[in-house]
């Protein structure tokens, strides 16, 4: 790679012209020139960053970086999972000088982030939820995620004790592996209390569709579901609608208990501040950033909302015991013998997938007891 530094005359002219232009630009916009930050970190959100949900959880994590010396943050919200996100990344790199970018929505990964990785090999990209694979993807790309399925399992434990109709409801956005794992974990948590419990799932098809989420919640309650949880970007509508119809709710992404203090049982929350600080500490120290980062309850990537007033004594006991078990590590939600709801065997007798099992991240089935289909 030595010939990278042998400039042709033309390149030299081009570069100096660009340099002069840059100099002019910084003279014209002294704010940019005055920025003292050693590194700029970019965050891209698919929705508004105070949505009581997915984006708020990330934005809270980003906000936790603001005190760190030499780090400045650029954020853009409401960026669709289209070529728009490529433009956002380009502008963060070219205009703001971002050297580390977190595109936080699932659909940003392929092809958008990968295209940018190829175009800007000196910039680091870390994607939330994607499947980074060192054989397929460049080294300046990477992914991070938390094992929040464990949290949904705990939600399920409390829901299983609370339900009277033995029917739970799940409002889901899209049938991608993380969502399916959450649905399966929620049901299996409930079935650890009573194996007769079923869970009805409704897919809305989009991450954020307020009216459809409200309709889905109403339809679930109409069919007798009395504990509702969800995996959509902003659980606010689901939580308020379900509580309004008298059903109990388990939260997701962030703590929604202020929205329904009486009906809120518990919730699975992200703790991204921990993850982002970890990346930025590595960046400041000049260490290479990890490409594949995962963590669960024990690592502090995920946390649970405090148990609500409607949670009974038995539920509280099993919740605490299960949580303690998970904190030890090695807990498996998906373990044999287990069938999918189409009758195929997903885990044989004695087979168990611990939270770190990579197979779980390509999940394409719903387990027995879940009423719903992935397509």
């Amino acid at each position: 790679m030595t010939d990278k530094f042998l400039l042709s005359r033309r390149d030299l002219l081009k570069t100096s012209a660009a340099g002069a232009a840059l100099g002019l630009a910084s003279a014209a916009f002294p704010i940019r020139a005055a920025r003292a930050a050693a590194a700029t970190v970019g965050f891209i959100y698919v929705g508004p960053k105070d949505d009581y949900g997915y984006n708020q959880a990330h934005a809270e994590g980003a906000a936790a970086l603001k005190g760190i010396e030499g780090i400045s943050i650029v954020e853009e919200e409401n960026v669709p999972e289209t070529v728009d996100v490529q433009k956002t990344m380009e502008s963060m790199i070219n205009l703001d000088g971002a050297s580390l970018i977190f595109p936080t929505s699932f659909g940003y990964f392929d092809p958008h982030m990968l295209a940018m990785c190829a175009k800007f090999p000196d910039v680091q990209f870390r994607h939330c939820g994607g499947m980074w694979n060192k054989d397929k993807h460049p080294m300046n790309a990477g992914s991070y995620f938390g094992y929040i399925g464990m949290g949904q399992y705990l939600n399920g434990v409390v829901a299983g004790h609370t339900t009277k109709s033995k029917k739970l409801g799940f409002v889901a956005a899209k049938p991608i592996p993380q969502v399916l794992l959450n649905i399966n974990s929620f049901l299996l948590g409930a079935r650890s209390v009573d194996p007769a419990i079923t869970c009805q799932v409704i897919f809305t098809g989009e991450w954020s569709l307020a009216v459809k989420e409200a309709e889905a919640t109403n339809a679930l309650v109409d069919q007798g579901a009395d504990v509702i949880t969800c995996h959509v970007d902003s659980p606010k509508v689901v939580v308020e609608t379900a509580a309004g119809r008298g059903a109990f709710v388990c939260g997701y992404h962030a703590n929604q208990s202020p929205l329904a203090p009486e009906k809120y049982l518990t919730g699975a929350e992200w703790n991204w501040a921990k993850v982002y600080k970890m990346f930025v500490d590595d960046l400041v120290a000049g260490k290479p950033l990890p490409n594949f980062t995962r963590g669960g309850l024990a690592d502090g990537f995920v946390k649970m909302s405090p148990l609500g007033p409607a949670v009974g004594e038995a539920a509280r006991k099993q919740f605490d015991a299960t949580l303690a078990e998970m904190m030890k590590g090695g807990f498996s939600v998906i373990k044999g013998p287990l069938k999918s709801n189409k009758g195929t065997i997903v885990a044989t007798e004695g087979q168990a997938f611990v939270e770190t099992a990579i197979e779980l991240e390509s999940m394409d089935y719903l387990v027995e007891g879940v009423v719903g289909s992935t397509a």
Binding site: D50, I202, S208, A210, A214
Partner: protein, 308 residues
């Protein structure tokens, strides 16, 4: 919580409930647009007005504790947006569709800007009337919980249908919409009539927005509308500029939109993307079935820039 197993009855019930719950913003926006278009203008900006109405209603309801003041604020904000559109469009060579698109983006952007502090707090909802209290089945009770705005919208549709035919004001709006020259010959000023018609249309769209944030789904988020204002404008053409048609089309859209979740809830889970497309497929089919290559759309105001 009491529950009764209603099984497959859940689907028609959900469609009925959905038609009542989901249709109200469509009713108000499409009635507002019907008035505007009957006067010869198109206001595509109603999506922005809807979003801004939702935000201002929620914000005022949070600050004053009264959803009715919120509703009023949304109507006033919508009126201002409508009057602004009407005022700009009176200048020669201004394209009302382009202004509408600009106002759509402006309204949404402004709503996002001012709405930031109101995403988190909760506001009191507009009241609903429990028409289902005769029934012992909780699902029926829930489906027949009808918001007052829905009833007002229904009454307004009938009133407008009657007023367009039988009142002086209705005739004035129609003549301005069908022929500006004829209106001028009668001594009417088309610009004033259109200004007021666009203003009233904006106010109604604002009320539609208030329903979204103050009743169903009942909170302010930036994704609250997801294009309902635009769909409602399209519904006006679908309804052939007839207020009763607007009401029916809005009900149809609300009911068809509830089909997808309802079918999944009773276990029909295959192909839900197809069910979600149902309202749009239905619209296409009806549009194709009722169109004709040999004549213009029946009922289209002659002064509209798309039919002129």
């Amino acid at each position: 919580m009491e529950t009764t197993d209603i099984g497959l009855w859940g689907v028609p019930l959900a469609m009925l409930g959905g038609a009542i719950r989901v249709s109200t913003p469509f009713i108000f926006v499409s009635l507002g647009e019907a008035i505007t278009e009957r006067s010869g203008r198109i206001n595509l900006g109603l999506e922005g007005t809807l979003v801004f109405g939702a935000m201002s209603a929620y914000a005022v309801a949070v600050m004053t504790g009264s959803p009715w003041l919120g509703l009023l604020a949304a109507a006033v904000a919508g009126l201002c947006f409508g009057l602004f559109h009407g005022w700009i469009c009176k200048f020669p060579k201004v394209n009302d569709i382009a202004i509408g698109i600009a106002l759509m983006l402006f309204g949404s952007g402004l709503a996002f800007f001012f709405g930031k502090p109101f995403i988190q707090p909760s506001a009191l909802d507009l009241p609903a009337i429990p028409f289902g209290s005769w029934s012992g089945i909780p699902q029926v009770q829930a489906a027949l919980n009808v918001n007052v705005l829905f009833l007002i919208g229904a009454a307004l549709a009938v009133f407008l249908w009657w007023a367009f035919r039988n009142t002086r004001i209705g005739l004035i709006v129609r003549v301005v919409g069908d022929s500006a020259d004829a209106a001028r010959a009668m001594g009417l000023n088309p610009n004033t009539v259109r200004l007021l018609a666009t203003g009233v249309g904006g106010a109604l769209a604002g009320i539609g927005g208030a329903y979204l944030s103050l009743y169903y789904p009942g909170s302010w988020t930036e994704r609250i509308s997801s294009g309902q204002g635009l769909m409602a404008v399209a519904l006006v053409i679908f309804a052939r500029w007839n207020p009763l048609g607007c009401f029916a089309a809005a009900l149809l859209f609300g009911g068809a939109g509830a089909l997808g979740p309802a079918l999944q809830s009773v276990g029909v889970t295959q192909g839900y993307y197809l069910f979600y497309a149902a309202p749009y497929i239905l619209t296409l089919v009806i549009m194709i079935a009722t169109s004709s290559p040999s004549r213009t759309l029946a009922g289209a105001p002659g002064e509209l820039s798309i039919t002129k």
